[in-house]
């Protein structure tokens, strides 16, 4: 099977991989680059567990042809902390019980980060809108919205 070279930035590190023709981004990130933080829940773009940021914008890795990310910047939950210090979103999720089984959490964090990066002071409705492409079967969403609101307050120095 032919292989295609792809180069991209993954959480501040350079990645260079050979990928199968037709491979999708989530397989390449998980098995190719060894970043297991994006999760596969449906492979059809309905659950959002595979949400990653491409050039800062949320995308579904399961529906992204891997070679299309050539030269682009990808951020995943695995790189959210950027060191020993957790991102305020991560701390807020922990404090607000915004995860139970944890399988949707990676995607939720990416969707939330994309929101706070462009809108540091969202309303609850805006948070709900931002995570509207991410399904959760455990929490009922309210703790997640609480966590994003709390994180946004902290990031603005307001709490």
């Amino acid at each position: 099977m032919a292989k295609t070279p792809v180069r991209f930035t993954l959480n501040d590190a350079e990645a260079a991989l050979f990928v199968d023709e037709g491979a999708n981004l989530i397989d390449v990130l998980r098995r190719g680059a060894g970043d297991l933080s994006p999760k596969q829940g449906c492979a059809q773009g309905t659950c959002g567990a595979c949400t990653v940021l491409i050039d800062g914008q949320p995308h579904l890795a399961c529906l992204t042809l891997a070679e299309t990310v050539e030269g682009r910047r990808i951020d995943t939950t695995g790189g959210l902390a950027g060191g020993p210090q957790l991102h305020p979103l991560q701390t807020a999720f922990m404090e607000e019980f915004a995860a139970q089984c944890g399988f949707c959490t990676s995607g939720m964090l990416m969707a939330a980060k994309a929101l706070l990066d462009r809108q540091p002071s969202p309303s609850r409705d805006e948070v709900a809108e931002a995570i509207s492409g991410n399904l959760c079967r455990c929490t009922g969403y309210e703790p997640i919205i609480d966590a994003v609101m709390r994180a946004s307050q902290r990031m603005r120095g307001a709490a």
Binding site: G22, A111, A128, E129, G133
Partner: protein, 263 residues
């Protein structure tokens, strides 16, 4: 096994289309097929650059086929389509799904195509030919070409109405959708009503359109349209809803749309 061919431009890609081949734009539909090994294709063609410009002038609105739903939402010129684009998928899907791709979306997807049908859009193909949405949709299963743009006439925003009926709130796939372009003000001079989810493609409810001509938008005025709205439609029967259910509720949702009743 799947092969991928990357071309520089859309025109080049159009020349590469063929049997068992799909064109990859945003990926929200084609990659589903890849992931589930859809047996109907084993080759993907894509273009490194896609026309995504959104531009309006006094003749109308031109949208490049590569424009995503997010691009539409960011463009003031495309404001008329904002109510539709806003309800397609979630933020990630909107960053990926293209206008051109939505024209080919099989039920239950294709909200934008439904709206464009009501708005009398024309579809421009690679090579330059254009055709009305209606004939494009009727022939899309046999379509070999690639869409380069959709062109809408000038539409006053207040004349356009949109309803997306889904079971999951606030976002979920359409069970059925209704787009209506009602011209004339208090007495309708021309109506175009398109349903999604009520046929193999978005379909116009032409009997209802005729029944609205010269009428006012009040309960008495729309009675004829409601009675005729199912003519020519073939409601889908699927996991979202039965054919019976769609038949029952389509006139109800049309009534609410025409009378602007709260849902």
């Amino acid at each position: 096994m799947l092969s991928v061919q990357t071309c520089a431009t859309l025109d080049e890609a159009a020349r590469q289309m063929g049997d068992r081949t799909r064109f990859l734009a945003g990926g929200t539909l084609v990659m589903r097929g890849v992931n589930y090994a859809d047996p109907s294709f084993d080759r993907i063609v894509r273009a490194r650059t896609m026309p995504c410009e959104i531009r309006s002038d006094d003749t109308g609105l031109r949208i490049g086929a590569g424009a995503t739903m997010a691009d539409l939402l960011a463009a003031r010129d495309a404001e008329i389509l904002h109510p539709v684009a806003r309800m397609i998928g979630g933020p990630a899907v909107r960053n990926m799904a293209t206008v051109g791709g939505n024209l080919f979306a099989a039920h239950p997807y294709g909200d934008l195509a439904t709206a464009l049908l009501a708005l009398d859009a024309r579809v421009e193909m690679a090579g330059g030919a254009t055709e009305p949405m209606e004939t494009f949709l009727a022939g899309r299963d046999r379509q070999r070409g690639l869409v380069t743009a959709v062109i809408l006439p000038r539409v006053t925003a207040s004349e356009f109405r949109w309803a997306k009926i889904s079971r999951v709130k606030p976002k979920g796939v359409s069970m059925l959708s209704i787009a209506a372009w009602l011209q004339g003000g208090s007495r309708i001079t021309d109506a175009r009503i398109a349903f999604g989810g009520m046929g193999p493609t978005p379909l116009r409810a032409k009997a209802a359109e005729r029944a609205l001509r010269d009428r006012t938008l009040d309960p008495a005025g729309i009675e004829g349209a409601l009675a005729a709205c199912l003519d020519g439609l073939a409601p889908a029967d699927d996991a979202l809803a039965s054919e019976w259910y769609r038949r029952e509720v389509a006139p109800v949702h049309l009534r609410r749309l025409l009378l602007r009743e709260a849902r």
